[in-house]
């Protein structure tokens, strides 16, 4: 069963308009993000009472930055340690390669289904759809991912993929869909969270116990010890990591950190920034194969898929520090209004607005290129994302830099109205005499705008009344108010 993919989504403004019309969605989002925001803030204040949140952020950013600066070496170390631990390491340049590797491992074991730990990277590469095309069903076991999958839907938040759904919608999905793919939901299912969770548990248990192959991502990969780390809340991930005979972990190359000790700041920053908790309930680590315990065949697919492009981007490379906490989504006023689907990617919100263009490259052809190019503009540059990011990613600066890349990518062809306008403005604004001349037309301009167009502005907002004279005219006439 497929949840569909994001490919072919319209550009942000169009997708956003549709989402903005959904009052239920806006209500769900404002409520959910507001709650997480408040919880996070309490914990940040708590850290500040005894030590310093800013110092912790610096430490987290430092650990990730150090590994990225030395990425080639760290990855070779990781490969060597993993191999020494009995794991098989694969390298994948892009989504297609990674998907083919996972499919061939599953086929080699003759299975037609795998269980999955919630993983952003496997969504990024469309693994479920690729496996489905090979006749292999991939079952999501994270509760929220399960809701998304059963609803033939797409995730809309990094941490809470079904944030756009409310309880009664979830009940309806469970009742209609669970029976199609496994153990059905009980007939007397209510929309009580505990009842819904129990139905999911019963549905999933059957799949855990049956599956021979598990698929995961990793939050961190430690080069020194060859250890992968998964951080989660429900424990379903741990079931996938320990019950199947074979475990395949797809890991973006930016997940590597140097040493075990590097986890210290990261594991303190992540749960506080993401769920607003001091500690996440489950942290699983595994280092290759342990005879007689857990999976006896462990594969690690190290994935590039645009990451080395991002790394080569002087300003944008800091986005690879991201630990996918989703704090930037939860404070983003744009995300709060539009929801995650408008971003057309598994990475929505402020981080999505920079990560997608960095991974995919700007200036691409067709509707896909247009969608990617619209993302750096999907922000008012208010800076709230930078303020909360636990690893100090200066998202607003990256957004502005990417906007410049988008503009540059389209230079040379037939200039758009906007490009012409800015060229004209540059001429007028580099010489005050030209500006003063132009200002004489301000009143006229405003009157025309009010009557004819500037429709994007005036359909919902009034324009200010035109002043009788500009400031510079006033200054000249009155000698700066002295006469």
């Amino acid at each position: 069963m497929s949840g569909g993919t994001f490919v072919g989504m319209p550009a942000f403004p169009t997708a956003a308009r549709e989402a903005l019309g959904n009052a239920q969605l806006r209500h769900n989002l404002a409520h959910a993000t507001g709650t997480i925001r408040a919880k996070r803030q309490r914990l940040v204040d708590e850290v500040n009472e005894v030590s310093d949140w800013e110092e912790l952020r610096l430490a987290g950013a430092g650990v990730k930055e150090a590994a990225l600066r030395d990425l080639g070496t760290q990855l070779e170390l990781l490969e060597a340690s993993l191999t020494a631990n009995g794991a098989t390491v694969h390298w994948a340049n892009d989504a297609a390669e990674a998907n083919a590797i996972v499919a061939s491992i599953a086929k080699a074991h003759g299975v037609d289904e795998v269980v999955k730990v919630k993983s952003m990277v496997t969504q990024e590469i469309g693994l479920n759809e690729a496996l489905e095309a090979e006749g292999i069903a991939a079952w999501e076991t994270d509760l929220a991912e399960l809701i998304v999958q059963l609803g033939h839907d797409l995730p809309s938040h990094i941490l809470v993929p079904a944030i756009h759904r409310n309880r009664s919608e979830i009940r309806d999905i469970f009742l209609a869909e669970m029976g199609q793919v496994g153990r059905p939901a009980p007939d007397d299912l209510t929309d009580e969270p505990a009842v819904l969770a129990a139905a999911a548990r019963a549905h999933l248990r059957e799949k855990f116990l049956r599956a021979k192959v598990g698929v995961s991502g990793a939050n961190f990969a430690i080069a020194e010890t060859g250890t992968l780390v998964v951080v989660e809340s429900e424990g379903n991930g741990r079931m996938c990591l320990t019950l199947p005979e074979v475990l395949v972990s797809v890991v973006g190359i930016e997940k590597v950190v140097s040493t075990f000790a590097d986890l210290d700041p990261l594991l303190r920053l992540l749960p506080r920034s993401s769920t607003g908790e001091r500690m996440n309930p489950y942290t699983s680590t595994w280092s290759g194969v342990t005879p007689g315990d857990g999976p006896q065949e462990v594969h690690v697919v190290l994935l590039d898929n645009g990451r080395t492009n991002a790394l080569a981007d002087e300003v944008g490379r800091q986005a690879l520090r991201c630990i996918r906490c989703s704090a930037c989504l939860n404070v983003c006023p744009v995300y709060e209004r539009t929801g995650g689907h408008a971003y057309g990617s598994v990475y929505p919100g402020p981080i999505g607005a920079i990560l997608n263009p960095l991974l995919k490259g700007v200036g691409g052809p067709g509707p896909e290129g247009e969608q990617v190019d619209s993302l750096p503009y999907a922000s008012s540059l208010c800076g709230a994302c930078f303020e909360v990011c636990p690893v100090l990613i200066d998202i607003p600066s990256v957004l502005v830099d990417l906007r410049a890349q988008v503009v540059d990518a389209h230079r040379g062809g037939v200039p758009k109205v906007e490009a012409l306008a800015f060229k004209g403005a540059a001429v007028a604004l580099s010489d005050s005499r030209k500006l003063a001349f132009g200002e004489r037309f301000t009143r006229l301009g405003l009157r025309v705008a009010r009557r004819f167009g500037a429709a994007k502005w005036t359909s919902t907002r009034d324009l200010p009344p035109a002043p009788p004279e500009s400031f510079r005219a006033w200054w000249k006439r009155t000698d700066g108010g002295r006469s």
Partner: protein, 242 residues
């Protein structure tokens, strides 16, 4: 101390009253503020929309206009933010070493009005009188890019006759965001209407901020909603007397 007023292109063309207020306020405080007439714009519209090449001549004009002053005061948090944080990016891209050093020279001297009053002049009581109920909206760029903190509030608290009411969710963006207001007009308006709803909830007669661009957006919504709330720039309140 030679002090220049950077009035900003929006204030120049649409809100001359704000510039006039800065002039009379600073004169009252003993500062003989000058207006370098060759100034135009800080280049923020270009920079924030990605037109960095187009920003180069505008930044060049900026540093030329303000060379030789000890301080440049502007009644706009976002324009001050652009000068302090983004001019160097434009200059670096231009590859022009002279421009780079001119920017390095000028940028640190650019102050948003409340910073200049509190940090440079060392005053919070500017002798103003404004007998109205006022809600303060901290604009994002003054709040996060510049870090003006509570300076505007400290200034407003000293204004005689003024009743300051608290605005819920004050630090959330109003949705203006420069060209964002047009490129993503629907989202911009959704953000703005949530803000004006909260402004109306305060019962204030006047909404004040340190940036006329955000106030254009919010004022445009408030008048369309017939909310009966006026928007006034901080400088105009601080300049007001009995």
């Amino acid at each position: 101390m030679r002090v220049a007023l950077m009035v900003t292109c929006i204030n120049d063309a649409l809100y001359p009253g704000t510039g006039q207020a800065v002039v009379s306020l600073l004169r009252r405080l003993g500062v003989d503020v000058e207006f370098p007439e060759s100034q135009t714009c800080c280049a923020q519209p270009m920079v924030n929309t990605g037109y960095l090449d187009e920003a180069v001549p505008v930044v060049r004009n900026f540093v030329d206009a303000f060379a030789g002053y000890d301080a440049v005061v502007t009644p706009s948090g976002s324009c001050a933010g652009c000068a302090r944080h983004q001019h160097s990016i434009v200059a670096r891209r231009s590859g022009d070493a002279t421009l780079q050093s001119a920017v390095a020279e000028t940028s640190p001297k650019v102050y948003e009005l409340s910073e200049f009053l509190v940090d440079v002049l060392g005053v919070t009581d500017v002798g103003a009188y404004y007998p109205h109920t006022v809600a303060y909206h901290p604009t994002c760029h003054s709040l996060r890019m510049l870090g003006v903190g509570d300076r505007p509030l400290r200034l407003l608290e000293q204004v005689r006759g003024l009743t300051l009411v608290e605005l819920e969710g004050a630090d959330q963006c109003c949705g203006f965001g420069g060209t964002f207001a047009v490129k993503n007009a629907d989202t911009s308006v959704a953000m703005g209407s949530d803000k004006t709803r909260r402004v109306r909830d305060t019962g204030a007669e006047v909404l004040v901020a340190g940036d006329n661009s955000c106030l254009t957006h919010l004022g445009g919504l408030l008048t369309r909603e017939r909310a009966g709330v006026r928007t006034v720039h901080l400088a105009e309140i601080l300049a007001a007397t009995e």
